[in-house]
């Protein structure tokens, strides 16, 4: 059953995941941490951190990890590989179908105005999708709560530091993650 749920859920991500590698993360974060309890927010955040340093796009690794975590507790290690595969095939299938469709079909000229507007509106929504993923992940287990003011304070400082460092001073992501890890080791 979990195989079917994973397969169908990831098909949905593949078919509707407009907007590039970052925008698709909001769909995956919502799916894995809110709609289903496959992953905790901190597991998802760790996934994004690790995916920056190992082969494989974050969305592919998210499919692997979701399958693994969703079935591990109930069915054990052997079945979790199958669950990862089900999620991965679900994510890949729409790409295959889209490739076939776009190879064979020509878009009717009467659709052009509609598609142009749809894509323009989607393009403006993409920052919202990425921001939505950031808000989903800004949960108690990732940044702390008011009951743990030290953890929360350091987290907010790191977030602010990273945003300003990346946007204003154009420090690259790997360097910012490295500095944050050092801050975490010393302060948290």
């Amino acid at each position: 059953m979990i195989y079917a749920i994973l397969f169908i859920s990831f098909i949905g991500v593949g078919f509707f995941g407009f907007g590039g590698p970052e925008a698709i993360l909001s769909m995956l974060a919502h799916l894995a941490t809110e709609e289903h309890n496959w992953l905790t927010q901190s597991q998802f955040a760790d996934l994004l951190i690790v995916s920056r340093f190992v082969p494989g796009e974050a969305s592919l690794n998210a499919a692997t990890l979701s399958g693994y975590a969703a079935s591990l507790s109930e069915y054990g290690m052997a079945s979790s590989m199958g669950a990862s595969l089900a999620a991965m095939v679900g994510l890949a299938l729409p790409s295959y179908v889209w490739a076939e469709l776009t190879y064979h079909l020509r878009i009717p000229t009467t659709w052009h105005d509609g598609l142009t507007h749809a894509l323009a509106l989607l393009k403006q929504a993409i920052p919202g999708l990425i921001g939505g993923a950031a808000i989903i992940l800004a949960s108690a287990d990732n940044i702390g709560t008011l009951q743990s003011p030290w953890h929360l304070g350091i987290s907010l400082f790191i977030m602010l530091f990273v945003v300003i460092g990346n946007v204003v001073f154009r420090i690259n992501a790997a360097a910012l993650l490295f500095l944050s890890a050092l801050a975490g080791i010393m302060l948290l």
Partner: protein
């Protein structure tokens, strides 16, 4: 275009590329171009750029999109399937192994502290990306209200982003095709 490239070669090409590339799917474009355009001459430069643009337009995981589109072009439907398998299978195996080995290590005190520092950083990086992407497509401050409200609805309203995408796409399409011509 004749089927000139064998499926085995496609599988091997994409598998090797998948395992030697870090980061998000866009990082795959440059090495893939070098491989299939400059070294193997399977595609011309123009054709390759056209296919990359197409892969960016369709929804889904970008590395799968790119694999499927290039594979389709090189060797038909089977080529697309081989390219997808070449990208997906090694990543599935490698990441499964990483998860199995490293999951217990998340709770070691030194690694746990480092992760506690990096988790807010990765959230900050997402926010920074949102801002940089928005700066390119949004011109006036008022236009920011639209993505900001979407972020709040997804983040705090827990609405599935899939519905947001479907609604946005549907609304834009209906407006462009039916409403605007009447105005």
């Amino acid at each position: 275009m004749p089927n000139k490239v064998s499926n085995k070669k496609i599988l091997a090409t994409f598998a090797r590329l998948a395992l030697t590339n870090l980061g998000n799917g866009y990082m795959m474009i440059a090495p893939l171009r070098k491989n299939v355009v400059e070294q193997k001459h399977w595609l011309t430069e123009e054709r390759f750029s056209h296919l990359v643009a197409k892969a960016q337009l369709i929804p889904g995981a970008f590395s799968f999109n790119l694999s499927a589109i290039i594979g389709r072009e090189l060797a038909g439907s089977k080529g697309a399937a081989c390219a997808i398998a070449g990208t997906g299978v090694p990543i599935l195996l490698l990441f499964s192994l990483l998860v199995a080995v490293f999951s217990p290590m998340r709770h070691w005190s030194l690694i746990a502290s480092a992760l506690n520092g990096m988790r807010p950083a990765i959230i900050g990086l997402l926010a920074a990306t949102a801002f940089r992407v928005g700066r390119q497509s949004l011109t006036s401050p008022a236009q920011w209200l639209y993505p900001i409200s979407i972020a709040l609805i997804i983040g705090y309203g827990h609405l599935a982003p899939l519905y947001v995408v479907a609604l946005t796409f549907g609304a834009g399409f209906v407006y462009g095709k039916f409403v605007k011509p009447q105005l």
